[in-house]
Every structure is written in structure tokens, then in C-alpha cells.
Amino acid sequence: MSSEVKDGLKDERTVEDSRPSREGGDRAQYGMCAFLALLGTAVIVDALGIERVTNGTDPVGPRAVPLLLGALLLLLAVLYAVDVARGGRGEPEAGEDVDLSQGSDWRTVLLLIAVFVANALLIERLGWVISGGLLFWGTAFALGNRHYIRNLLISATLSLTTFYAFAIGLGVNLPAGVLQGIL
């Protein structure tokens, strides 16, 4: 019975899900395998660099767990690759705003990352009000909204409100930056 319900759901979710690249298996998954293998190696190398401190009160020491995790990561990378080679693939996550019938829109993603990094670099110097406002404005722009002036007003309102409500009202850590003394 329960498989009936589950199947029903799956059908609904995968209706629009028919990218042509799917036919030859999902090769991009090998990238994830490579990432796991690299991570596993890095964890083992890091663990080997840890001083060996084992004594009566701590017979295990700090190296055992990372070594075990690194080995397991390598093992899983192999098992995952075998699964992919046999045609296994994970269902990309669906959602109300997600349209999987088109390929990935890398331009939007890169723009978002750029906006995000800009905020991380500027937040201490310019302060949350300016950098946070830029973050909101930039994200809305990257996602295709072209109401520049209206968005500027929304961004300013949002960052000013959050600054006063959270930083000044509730004592949350947010930098004032160049506007120190003005706000």
C-alpha cells in the first residue's frame, strides 16, 4: 500500500523532468565521487599531521576518528562511482519555484555568488546597512527583477529596519561600518 502512495508522488514530481542528458546516465555524479575522494584524502593527510597523543586516560587520541572518516569517505567514493556506473542517480530536488525542464542557469548562479562575496568583503568596512542593502538589491537584480529604483527603496528600508530592530533593539551583532555615529 505504502509503495502505491509513494509511486503516485514520484510520478507527479517527475512529469516535467525529462532532460535529454539523462538518457546516457548522469555523468556529473562522477564529479561528486571525485570530490568525496579528494575530501577523504585531505582528511587522512590532515589526520596524519596531528601529533600522536595517546595515553592512559585517552587511549584513542585525536587521530583515530578523522582517519576512520577519511577511509570511509574513500570507500564511499568508490561505492558511489560503482552505483553511478550501474545507472544509479539521485532525483534532483523538485520544488514549487523549480523548473527542471530547462538546464541550469549558470549566469544567474554566478551573479548571485558575486553579490554574496561582495557583501562578505564589504560588510565590515561599509557596515550592514549599506552592504546588506546591496546584497538584497543585487540578488533581486540577478534573479531578473528590473525595478531599479523601487528595489533601491526596498533594500534601504529592509537593511535600515533590520539594523535598528536587531542590532540596536535586540543586541544582535551587526557592524555599523562607515555609518558609525550617523545611525
Binding site: 500500500m1 505504502s2 502512495v5 509513494k6 503516485g8 508522488l9 548522469d26 556529473a28 561528486m32 582528511v43 590532515d46 596531528i50 601529533e51 592512559g56 586516560t57 585517552d58 584513542v60 585525536p62 576518528v65 578523522p66 572518516l69 564511499l76 561505492l79 558511489y80 552505483d83 544509479g88 539521485g90 532525483e91 534532483p92 530536488e93 520544488g95 514549487e96 519555484d97 523549480v98 523548473d99 541550469s104 542557469d105 544567474t108 548562479v109 555568488i113 554574496f116 562575496v117 562578505a120 568583503l121 565590515e124 546588506g132 546584497l135 540578488t139 533581486a140 534573479l143 531578473g144 527583477n145 526596498i154 533590520t162 536587531f166 535586540l170 544582535v172 551583532n173 551587526l174 557592524p175
Partner: protein, 499 residues
């Protein structure tokens, strides 16, 4: 009766105009954020956590209880009106709920969900009050090996019971465990810190949760943004006719009976009880032909099961420090950020705080009902928010929250990296929950494991403590071999009985 007295004291502590206002604010913003498409309860709690950073723990918990229930209810509103469950636990609610909404019965679907959540939440919280002391008594008797075994069980359960692919679940778990290793370990050695001093304290769980949930989701949606937003079904004020009440009350109680025990088990979750409730209601209904076209029982039962299971999750979360779903995992992180360590000693050390939290859960649940019946049409409007603003807002608050944890820009770069990891996990269909559970429980499992081996002088037999750990290891073996049993025993039997 001691508990009830304690609970009354908890109510007395909460009943203060300022605190009630905080509970109300918590419920309102919890629902408002939870209603937003793409934001499930766990993400709601993670995003709103920073709001409480400047508060005293008592006030923070009061607000938190409101956010918790508000986020849960907001999620079911979205799944009914948009057919898009924010979390796997509301998948079942979406099946019948959305059909009801399409058939013009959105008001009744929302009403039975709201009242059912209230009934289940109230009964569930009462059971929590009655059960907590027993579980704590049991938990106090547990030693390090038993805890280690329980945590292993939680790891195995989140990777095997849920989700379709064990390999993918395990990958997610291992990524989480690896993130958990970052920092200075108990013997004072730096691990995976890359020589960066800020990483010595490890990566904050809130940053991990916000990165994986919120930033990952925003990036994932950005890559696949639907140019035309989904149709939202307009809704009036929720109400139910006499017949709806007659058809709803039994499913509410049955759903509660399924949900709570599953939530309270260390290997539980809401997926199994919501499915079981759905199937039961379909079988027992006098209108089985309506199932698939919008049967009210199919909303009432699973929604109650979902909420009761959420209340049940608080039992292992508070008494053992073991989270079994994403929301509980984030709540555990919140406790830790106030310097409070859930576990058997919590009820001794922070008794008043625990009872305040439980009293707040009752109040939050009641406020939710009073508030959401009249406000449902307003929440439905939130679903139409332009998507660029929605995701800009998510990134804005995610950044603010992650920065506020330690006030260091480095956290924002970590947040972005985790967001990219969350993006990749969504792309490759890797489940997210095992990662979060791994980050939170990994370091504690290592602590308990090392403690066990310390007692035995390094002999691996030290990991086998007493009867409790034997039982737990048996359960682990059962969970692991269950697919084999199903393949070689259950299916042939069924085939034989069918033939």
C-alpha cells in the same frame, strides 16, 4: 503530580504580558516565514534563530516555541495551497489537501489542518510532560557505551530508514561528520582547521544549517527559476461544516496515536507515521472513493500525525540530546548557542527553563489556532510574493543570521561554501538531514566513544556496555538487514499468498 506542579510553575513564569507578546510575535513571524514557498519548518527555525540572540534564554525559548509551531503550520498551508511540501513530512498532507483546495474546499482543508495540529500538538505536549521524567530516569542510568550506541542508531536511522538510496544517505552523513571534526579536539589538537585561527572553535551548527538549507536552496532555485510562478488557490476564512467535524475528529486522534510514538523513538521521524495515517484513513473511510480527489480524512490524519510526531521528537531531543528530525536538530543547535546542553542532566540543571519551554509550547499552539483561522487569507497572499524578492530576502536574512553568530566575515565565506555544497546535494539528490545530524551528533558520538574506550583501556569490547547497548545494536542490525529480509522473506510470502 510533581510534573504538573512544575508545569504550572512554567505557566506562571510565562504568563507575563511581555512574554505573551514575545510568544505572539514568534507565532506570527514563524507562520509568515514558514508559509513562504521553499521554506520548511527547519529552515524557518534556522533563519529566525538570530532574532533571539540578544535575549535571555527564558524569553528566547518562549519566542522559539512560537516560531516552532508557526513554522510547522506555515509549511502545511503552503503544501495545501501550492501542492509543494516544504519538508518530506508534509508530503502526505499535500496529496489530499491540494486536491481539496482545487475542488474549492481550501477553507475546510486549512481548517482541519489547523485544528488537527492543535489537537495533536496539545495531546503530544501533554504526553511529553508525562513521559519526560521517565525517559530522564532511564537516561541517567545510561553510560557512555549506551550513548554511543544510541547515536550510532540515530546515524543509521537517518541514512537508511528515510530516503531512497542508502549510499546517498551515507555520503551526506559522512560529509556532516567531517564538518563536525573541524576544530580543536578534546586533547587540544587542531583538526582540519587549515591553520585558520577562527576555525579552532569549529564551524557553528547554525552556519551549517543556514548554509545548507537557506543558501543552498536559494542557489538551487536561482539555477532553475520557473519564469511563471505556480498558481495559488485563493482562499477565504477557514471553517468547517458539521459533516467535516464528524469526518475529522477520529483521524486527528488516530494520527496523533501514530505520530507521537514514532517521533519519540530515537530512530523515528514524521514520514512513516504520516504515510501510515494516510493509509489507515483510506482504509477506514466511509468515502474511500474520495481519496485521490480530496478527502478531508486524508488531510486531518496525516497533519495530526505530523504535529504529534514533532512533539514526540522533543522527548529524545530534551532527555537524551538526540535530534531525530531537521527541526529538532536546529533546535538543539539553538540550545547549544545559549550554552545549554540537552540531555539527562538538563531537567536537573535547568528545570525551570525546560518547564517554561513546555508551557510555551502549549501557549504557542493555542495562539496559532486563534491567529491562523482568521489570518489564513493573508498568509495565502504571501505565497504570491515575487520570487526575486523572496530569494533576495532569504539570502539577506541568512547572511545576517550567519554573521550575527560570531561577527566575523569568514563565516560568510564558510556559509557560501556550504551553500554550494547544499546546491550540489540538491542537484545529485543527496538528502540533507543526515548531514545536519552528523554535524551535531558527530563530535558527541566521538566523545562518548572515546570515553567508553577509556574505561576499557582501549579494548574495543568497551563499546559493548550493558543490556541497553545490546538492545540498541540489535536494533541497528535489524535496520541494516531489513531490506534483505523484505527481499527474501516478505516478498516471496506475499507473492505466495497472492497466488
Amino acid at each position: 503530580m510533581d510534573n504538573l506542579n512544575n508545569l504550572m510553575q512554567g505557566f506562571a513564569d510565562v504568563m507575563d504580558p511581555m512574554n505573551l507578546l514575545l510568544a505572539l510575535i514568534g507565532v506570527v513571524i514563524g507562520t509568515a516565514v514558514g508559509v513562504l514557498p521553499g521554506i520548511g519548518p527547519a529552515m524557518t527555525v534556522a533563519l529566525l534563530l538570530p532574532i533571539t540572540y540578544g535575549m535571555e534564554p527564558v524569553q528566547a525559548f518562549i519566542m522559539f516555541a512560537g516560531i516552532f509551531y508557526g513554522g510547522m503550520y506555515g509549511g502545511s498551508t503552503t503544501s495545501i495551497l501550492l501542492n509543494t511540501p516544504g519538508e518530506s513530512s508534509s508530503v502526505v498532507t499535500a496529496i489530499e489537501g491540494n486536491r481539496m483546495a482545487k475542488a474549492g474546499r481550501a477553507a475546510q482543508a486549512l481548517a482541519t489542518a489547523a485544528i488537527g495540529s492543535f489537537v495533536a500538538g496539545t495531546i503530544g505536549t501533554l504526553l511529553l510532560v508525562l513521559l519526560m521524567p521517565f525517559v530522564v530516569d532511564f537516561a541517567v542510568s545510561l553510560g557512555a557505551p549506551d550513548y554511543f550506541a544510541l547515536m550510532l542508531l540515530a546515524f543509521i536511522a537517518v541514512t537508511s530508514v528515510l530516503g531512497s538510496s542508502r549510499i546517498r544517505g551515507l555520503i551526506s552523513l559522512l560529509l556532516g561528520l567531517t564538518i563536525g571534526v573541524v576544530g580543536i579536539d578534546q586533547s587540544g589538537q587542531q583538526r582540519l582547521t587549515l591553520g585558520i585561527p577562527q576555525l579552532a572553535d569549529g564551524i557553528d551548527v547554525v552556519v551549517v544549517a543556514v548554509g545548507i538549507f537557506a543558501v543552498g536552496e536559494a542557489l538551487w532555485v536561482a539555477a532553475h527559476l520557473r519564469r511563471r510562478p505556480a498558481e495559488v488557490i485563493p482562499v477565504g476564512r477557514p471553517w468547517m461544516g458539521k459533516k467535516d467535524w464528524q469526518r475529522s475528529w477520529k483521524p486527528w486522534l488516530r494520527g496523533t496515536a501514530y505520530g507521537f510514538p514514532f517521533g519519540a523513538l530515537p530512530a523515528g521521524g514524521a514520514e512513516i507515521p504520516t504515510f501510515m495515517s494516510y493509509i489507515t484513513e483510506k482504509r477506514l473511510s466511509k468515502h474511500p472513493e474520495e481519496f485521490g480527489k480530496g478527502a478531508i480524512e486524508g488531510v486531518a490524519g496525516p497533519e495530526a500525525a505530523n504535529n504529534a510526531s514533532a512533539a514526540g521528537t522533543l522527548v529524545p531531543m530534551l532527555a537524551l540530546g538526540l535530534p531525530t528530525n531537521a527541526t529538532a536538530a536546529v533546535m538543539l543547535a539553538a540550545f547549544q548557542s545559549y550554552g545549554i546542553q540537552p540531555g539527562p542532566l538538563l531537567l536537573d540543571r535547568e528545570a525551570s527553563l525546560v518547564w517554561v519551554l513546555i508551557a510555551s509550547l502549549f501557549i504557542g499552539n493555542l495562539l496559532l489556532l486563534l491567529l491562523n483561522l482568521p489570518l489564513a487569507p493573508a498568509w495565502a497572499k504571501l505565497l504570491q510574493i515575487p520570487r526575486p524578492y523572496l530569494y533576495a530576502g532569504i539570502l539577506f536574512f541568512a547572511t545576517m543570521g550567519a554573521y550575527a553568530v560570531n561577527a566575523q566575515p569568514l563565516d560568510l565565506f564558510i556559509l557560501l561554501s556550504l551553500g554550494l555544497l547544499g546546491f550540489a546535494m540538491r542537484r545529485f539528490g543527496l538528502p540533507v538531514l543526515p548531514l545536519i545530524v552528523g554535524v551535531i551528533l558527530g563530535p558527541r558520538a566521538e566523545l562518548q566513544g572515546r570515553r567508553s574506550l577509556q574505561l576499557s583501556g582501549g579494548e574495543l569490547s568497551g563499546l559493548l556496555g550493558g543490556p541497553v547497548s545490546y538492545t540498541v545494536y540489535t536494533a541497528i542490525v535489524l535496520v541494516l538487514v531489513w531490506p534483505l529480509i523484505r527481499r527474501f522473506v516478505v516478498r516471496p510470502l506475499r507473492a505466495r499468498s497472492a497466488a
